[in-house]
Amino acid sequence: MAKASELVTLTAAQMADKLKKGDISSRELVEAELQTIDSAEPTLQAFLARSSEEALAVADDIDTRRAKGEELPSLAGVPVAVKDMIVTKGIETTAASKILEGWIPPYDATVVTRMKNTGMPILGKTNLDEFAQGSSTENSAFHNTYNPWDITRVPGGSGGGSATSVASFETPLALGTDTGGSIRQPAAFTGTVGVKPTYGRVSRYGAIAMASSMDQIGPCARTVEDAAMLYDVIAGYDDHDSTSIREILPSMTAAALQGKNQDLKGLRVGIIKEATGDGFEEEVKNNFSEGIKLLQNMGANVEEVSFRHFLHGIQVYYVVMPAEVSSNLARYDGMRYGLRVMPPADVPQTAANMMAYTREAGFGAEVKRRIILGTYALSAGKYEEWYGKAQRVRTVMIQDFNKAFKDFDVLVCPTAPTSAFKIGEVEDPATMYRNDIATIPANLAGLPAISIPSGLDHNNLPVGFQILAAQKNDELMFRVASALETAFNKKWGAPLWAQLKTPWLDSLSEE
């Protein structure tokens, strides 16, 4: 029997390999992760709910089937955590909002069904900014999540729980959702890998809707290969999602493995000029330059490319996103599920008043702010000036990307302008929104994008390197990311996470 701390620091690919060879059982693995969660949660608070019993039952089932000689998928028996923005049948799902507190979904999201069919034990549901609205996980209605690299700092957001759980070895893999950077920015802040697939590659059925034209589920992991393996499980056509792309997908795992040979000869890489200038910390830029050198060493041709409207992305986003939010969140009306708050006695006890008081009590400040902004953007007299204009500028941005991808295979820039900031440090919404300045354009244009760790700053905090590819070219993104990750690891002598101090692993029992 291996030590729990040795099991949980394996990559998902290593876990899968050891399970296949019979070196370890899925039960051992799940128990080791549950021990880690018990030990780490008082400090990090990455989870909102745990599903330990269900996870152990799946693990036992997989161990039994494997013992009988059944041929199982690669990730069978490898545990996973799920952002609480994705519905799980029988497991409380809240979107970190009071308005859904206690809700037990009667169905599974398609991605959850696929992971269950693969035999992946689900450890629990991870924390987030309420309805995935925020960049620090401070907007959760329940509690903060703390960055494992420095617990006085945020883990990013909205998917701070998934990123922290992966970074701290509570799970090898997690699912996130990314509407403006909610997978990639937390990955950058926690030294992990986060992927937003091409829009339509992963089914949104069962992802609680935030801004439907940009929402996309994707993997969080510690390595590019692990992220690719989870991508291969969750992606593909689903007739429950009308925006799902009907195509047979190539293997992302194969692309990631190919990348490890570090051959990028002739690859045309464009540096997004606007995302390496003002507002980006010097250390972030220096760190980014290290990655560029490594790409060049592997044979890539790197040039700077200017996007005249890249920085307008944030303005377009803060019209389109709230507009879609205000429409999608209209469903929380106290009628069919979730919270119901009746008006005070001196107010007529009507359905309309019940809705208004329920929504006032159930939504947090940021969610209300966005609903109000979106309602305004869609209101008579403002629709064309705000929403119509934003959707047209969005088209212009997509045209700019299409043009750039004629000259470049991938585009690169830092994932976020800064490393993780202190809890409570950013109070002004506009400043908080600027965190997503480099991640938003991929959502507006439906592009695949990945963040991988590119080093630490002087505060010992991780920095992220972002790679964007053309629509439906996710496999190229994985290949390049894997090559760069391999180059970074060689330079450092070990993956970045080897430098993370993990006191919560020291106390784990030796079995």
Partner: protein, 98 residues
């Protein structure tokens, strides 16, 4: 210049079906003004003859196969209802005097 007025904010709250309190109205007035100012910068980008984007990936509409599937049962569908009775959602009064 202020984009929003207090009355307007109350009206938007009504449209959004949120019973905002006075403190929230004041706070959102201030915050939304600064957001509106930032958003107004995109008005300078020329977009004549540019179509709006609703879905970043163009997909042709298609019909799903016309096959019967089992939907949620009535029991499952109302399981999360705040109030239910005899397999039905119970709602407060919808019609009649305010």
């Amino acid at each position: 210049m202020s984009t929003f007025t207090k009355e307007q904010m109350k009206h938007i709250g009504d449209l959004a079906s949120i019973a905002l309190n006075d403190e929230e109205i004041d706070r959102f007035l201030h915050e939304l003004d600064s957001i509106a100012e930032s958003i107004s910068q995109m008005q300078d980008i020329p977009t004549d003859n540019v179509e709006p984007t609703t879905n970043p990936i163009a997909i042709e509409a298609y019909l799903r196969p016309d096959e019967a599937v089992t939907p949620l049962s009535q029991k499952d569908a109302i399981a999360g209802a705040p109030v239910s009775e005899a397999g039905m959602f119970v709602a407060p009064k919808i019609l009649g005097e305010e």
